[in-house]
């Protein structure tokens, strides 16, 4: 079974997941992102890489923040960007996901940026494009259910490389609701492909997926154990609806057990960096003192995110 994000020559034509991407492919994306970072510092923040191309932001699940970062990235590459709030329009009228895709292909879309609440939805789109002979239309997964959020994973890698240079001896702790997190899955695959020393999945059993250790992580149910001597701490957002119920007794108890505070962060290496995919729940998974503290690199993550998304779009368009 061929990885559907690669063409017959093994080139990346869609970005669906960080899983299965070799180290060289990941490194190439990060290197190109590095060259685009400078574009954002210019007075004229544009390069003509995607001039004349149409990028459709297809968000079946609302996310203004992620959509905006893709929009900025595409515009800095000179693409025409069309935002479709499909959550509220066509599908609400009963049109199926693939009907929507067919219509947009007929409008000469060159690239889809897809966010969907159901794991695997972008794979369905890619399969459909392939079967209808339109594999020239590229798809970027901007988050599908719990499965993957590859550009977030890549921007996390960019951030880690920026601050730590080399992956080989790093210990990275991913803390929180890994069960529902597409970011965690994308990070784990990318970190392992880049040859990181150790990845730890930290959280109570209710928030860890079954057999997560098979993905190449060390499971730590205890936060102290999970943070001890690590170089990178990636905190995950805990959704409101999951705070009180059968997964967790309360946000207060969660913060006591798994919240990142100056005290618990002190267990990590003194130069450890703190990351978060945003938006943060201050006082639930992370203390404001840490979120605003010197070790936090949460805002640089956002800046790097634009460059990484530019890199991904330019690579796909070139293949």
């Amino acid at each position: 079974m061929r990885n559907p994000q690669l063409n017959a020559n093994g080139e990346l034509i869609h970005l669906l997941s960080t899983e299965g991407l070799p180290r060289e492919a990941l490194t190439r994306i990060l290197d190109i992102a590095s060259s685009f970072l400078e574009v954002s510092d210019r007075d004229v923040k544009k390069v003509p890489v995607l001039r004349g191309k149409s990028v459709f932001n297809l968000f079946f699940e609302n996310s203004t923040r992620t959509r905006t970062t893709f929009e900025i990235a595409a515009k800095r590459l000179s693409a025409d960007v069309i935002n479709l709030d499909v959550a509220r329009s066509s599908t609400a009228k009963g049109e199926t996901l693939l009907d929507t895709v067919d219509n947009l292909v007929a409008m000469h879309a060159d690239m889809f940026v897809v966010r969907h609440s159901s794991s695997g939805a972008p794979y369905l789109i890619v399969d459909h494009l392939h079967r209808t002979g339109r594999s020239d239309v590229h798809v970027v997964n901007a988050g599908d259910g719990r499965h993957a959020h590859p550009t977030q994973g890549l921007l996390d890698m960019y951030t880690i490389r920026h601050y730590k240079k080399d992956f080989s001896n790093l210990t990275v702790a991913i803390v929180g609701d890994i069960l529902h997190s597409r970011v965690a899955r994308s990070d784990i695959h990318a970190l392992n492909a880049l040859g990181v020393g150790q990845v730890r999945a930290v959280g109570p059993q209710t928030l860890l997926p079954t057999a997560i250790e098979k993905m190449g992580v060390r499971v730590c149910n205890d936060l102290q154990e999970g943070l001890r001597d690590c170089d990178v701490v990636i905190m995950l957002r805990l959704q409101n609806e999951r705070m009180n119920g059968a997964l967790l007794p309360s946000a207060r108890e969660y913060f006591k057990g798994y919240g990142l505070t100056p005290k618990t962060l002190a267990l990590a290496k003194p130069d450890a960096i703190v990351m978060h995919p945003g938006p943060m729940n201050r006082g639930v998974e992370i203390d404001s003192e840490v979120a605003d503290g010197p070790q936090a690199v949460i805002l640089p993550q956002v800046t790097f995110g634009i460059a990484v998304r530019m890199a991904v779009m330019s690579i796909l368009a070139g293949n």
Partner: protein, 426 residues
Amino acid sequence: MRDELNSEVSSTDIHIRNGRLIDPKNGLDSSADLFIVNGRIAAIGKAPESFSAMRTIDASGRIVCPGLVDLSTRLGSLETELAAAIAGGVTAVACPPDTKPPLDEPGLVERLIRRSEALGLARVFPIGALTQQLAGEKLAEMTSLSKAGCIAFSQAQHPIFDTQVLLRAMQYAATFDYAIRLQPQDHYLARDGVAHDGEVASRLGLAGIPVCAETVAISTALHLARATGVRLHLARLSSAAGVALVRAAKLNGLKVSCDIDIHHLHLSDVDIGYFDSHARFDPPLRSGSDRDALRAAAAEGLAVLCSDHTPVDEDGKQLPFAEALPGATGLELLLPLTLKWAEQEKLPLLTALARITCDPAAILGIDSGSLSVGSPADLCIFDPVEPWRVTPAALRSQGKNTPFMGYEMAGRVHLTLVGGRVVFEC
């Protein structure tokens, strides 16, 4: 006696010669001629006295076996699905009650039987709803439904939340010796789940259905069956642990039977690949070791096999994995997939074919699934090695949904007889 219906009418005295007869019920596997008189098997080997064949069928190089009996067939359109059945060598199908509306009224059952008999294809044996509207609250009129032709009662995939209702349903069924079928899956443990709770689902970010959803439900059902003495059949086992529970219960003397969807003998959760909705099943495809345990259970005769035929149209599958409808078209693949399993496990055909002929017939309590002299001539004549490719056009079922689309299968049905009438020929 429904079995005799049609068989007396328009039947021909037939001589089937040179075939390899395989009759698991009677332990027969030999080359011999078979003679049909008045829709029933009249003799094997030597022609009965004063026999005069109106038709002679040459079965050289082919296997003549009892027509297949399928424990679970969702019909959708009667015409196309019963045509698919006979094309797959299936001569008797039991249909679950989760039709629209559900089979909880005698009138609906009678109509289904009447319509299927008018078609004169495969025999249809309805399974009645155990509770009204399958809602799991009030008992259905089992006695009336039984009189109308229901051969067992079930909830299909609908849960009974209240365990006391389940106990009462079993007590009531046991009073009249009605058989009950349950698909064991704890509703709460399986809630929102779409795939086996394991490495694959975790990696793909699909909500998991843990094995304990099955074992908890099996345990409950076994305890209640012991308490009530009901005849219990557990449908669609999916896990090694589930099979082990049933094996232990049988060793302890409980009369319980079970079946496995043929797809679960060949596939595991790994076959979901990149979110292939054709690998979405209910219960889910589980791990490779579960699959191996299911294969062993079928080989030893602990479980029988069924197609769990579920035609789903393209719209129902062209959706993200979790939103797609579960199930696969199965009637036309039951025989080739059974043969494939037998070949891989090096099982004698006598053993393998038992799981889709006499064993399910015994569970249904119907006079079919054997080549015994005197039984209705429900037969399947097939070439065990002739290859055919699974394509939408090759399938007569309206459902083209199968994970085996495009595969080459060995085992082609050439002739199907129901009550001595040739209903399919190719």
